[in-house]
Symmetry: none
Subunit: 213 residues, 4 copies
């Protein structure tokens, strides 16, 4: 009988709607300043309804991270698995992937950074906690894998690939947050895409192993 399935689908859709609303509000205000009521209003629901779909504010927030991390992994695994003629091309694909990730959820970072407070982790169900950890680990390994290819190929400097991961991720998220901050202060220059392009270009040039080296 398709009825159950339809109900199931509608339930899932509602959950997604809430997540979309939550993403918007969390992105704008940050975790602490976002009230459940804000999210409810954004989703055109009442506060109580949110709790039919998510156990708590923390869990709702965490589930956004899951979504983003899944997206990130999908994108990175594309970059890894696709055959490229040159490392150069793979690098371009990586940059494209980072752009996509940015488009998908600019505030990944806010999300991820919020987790800093280990207190907020207390309320999270261990399963969710585990899932996030697993996904995050996989994402970092994926990135490291891409760099390892370049190192093995003598294309980029011989640095611990995890260091490169840290730098790329820091660069990426740092720029996003910095552009956000600038917006608030109404500074003129915020050309995120251009900044990204230049940043990645510099990063890639900086990693490149000189022929003479």
């Amino acid at each position: 009988m398709g009825i159950k399935q339809r109900k199931q689908r509608e339930k899932e859709r509602r959950k997604q709607e809430i997540m979309v609303a939550a993403k918007r509000v969390f992105s704008k205000k940050g975790y602490d300043r976002t009230k459940m009521e804000d999210i409810a209003r954004e989703a055109e629901l009442s506060p109580g309804t949110l709790y039919l779909y998510f156990k708590s504010k923390g869990e709702l927030h965490a589930s956004l991270n899951v979504r983003v991390l899944q997206f990130i992994n999908i994108k990175l695994e594309h970059v890894i698995n696709e055959p490229f003629d040159s490392f150069e091309q793979r690098q371009q694909a990586l940059i494209k992937a980072m752009h996509d990730i940015y488009e998908f959820d600019a505030m990944v970072l806010n999300n991820v950074f919020h987790l800093q407070s280990s207190e907020s982790l207390k309320k999270m169900s261990p399963e969710l906690m585990d899932e996030i950890n697993t996904l995050a680990t996989r994402a970092l390994r994926n990135l490291a894998g891409i760099f390892q290819v370049g190192i093995d190929d003598n294309q980029i400097v011989d640095v611990h690939p995890m260091a490169l991961v840290d730098i790329l991720w820091g660069l990426f998220s740092g720029i996003v947050m910095w552009e956000e901050t600038k917006k608030t202060f109404k500074r003129k220059r915020y050309a995120l895409n251009e900044t990204f392009d230049t940043a990645f270009e510099i990063f890639i040039r900086g990693m490149r192993r000189d022929r003479s080296e």
Copy 2:
């Protein structure tokens, strides 16, 4: 009469003590999760006393930004004004300055990023707001100035210096926050200084204008 001056000095010293305490707590817990009582305890004062020196939590926090921005400007202006034999040396001085800034207040960034919420700006006195804006603008101009020297000198690629500023600042703050996040998740690798060194090295290599170019 020196009495007034002594009083003044003591008041200033007390204010500094509170700021030091506040910095420690804000750095550890972030703005929202820091209670005034936490700061009071750290400063070995009572909560009420904080309000003799700062109008509000927001203002206390903002004043930390002022301090950091002042520090940043001093450091950057050293880099600008000191005569160096080569741009290479100036670059090394800049990196050193960034290290110093990091030592001075790793969480500058948290601080600065917190300002995202434009609502929290409402409570800030316009003077303080102005001061921060002025200092921030000066800091960014200072950084841009340093890069301009390199551009004029044909040492680094011809990119809008403000873009380089955004990238350097994003890189810097992004790495700090990312390392903080990693700590929470107890991931093994967090060697902030090494990561910094590698990151700046890559950044500098990436900016460097090839002789052949």
Copy 3:
């Protein structure tokens, strides 16, 4: 037409099913801690359905009291109306009745005691309120009647029979609740039936008029 009657019977049966489920849950958790959803789950119905049969949680709860009070009255009226050879035998029948009442719904008491909050009475329909009052009065009169027989018969001390009623009822309900409490605290001794037997024995011996008196 029997259709209406069948419908009527089915409706009544459904109502009874709900009450049975409700009794179980109320007994286990107490009034306030019982959620309508708990009862619905126990009855294998949806929450909304409960409201087709009962106007509110309070009314559902009250209707349980009605049922218990009816049961009590039936039992007590047996004890009154049955002819016994001696008061002694009637007394034994009373004790048996109390056992039966306990078996029927140990938590009568919880139920009855819950009514303490006069606020909760506000929501109850006056008819239900009246019915409970009438039934309770009848139950107390029935008990008093039994004692009056003993007094008239010179078998038990000459005390206002209502006082004896209060004592018996207090003794009965107090022991039930106390044993419940002990369970929670995992104290070893909870042998409710034995305690009951001993308690009633003492009560009867204590009421017994000495031959010499």
Copy 4:
């Protein structure tokens, strides 16, 4: 310096004031229906203030139990330790003690019974939990000790003294609650003291070992 001591005393007094207010409200409405705001209003304080003295609603409530249990133990230990010429006199002292306990806090029972919900125990600090358990155990042992004297003395029937404890306690608390219930229903007869006297008299007579036995 006496200042600290005075502050300490005032703090203790305030705590007592809150407990008195809480006792009144809990007694009238029961645990669940009592809002912290009610207690605050009764104590002429704001809700927040209650939390300066008690960690939670549950802990405030539990601390009332502690107070009552302490009082009970003091009273019972008097009955045990005082030398009496006859068991008869000791019994009278026990009855007097029960009266005193009733005067001190009629709702002991409500308090104690509320603990039924093991869920509410979760929030209680283990220390408090322990304290209550210890005090309650001591109270029960004290009561049992008194009965043991009577048994050893051949004054009362040879029943497990703990059974007598259960019965006495059930009788006592049951009558109190029953009288409370009657009040709500505005039944005429509520002469608690008389009922108590009669109840204890019956209980004692019922326990008494016949000379002929």
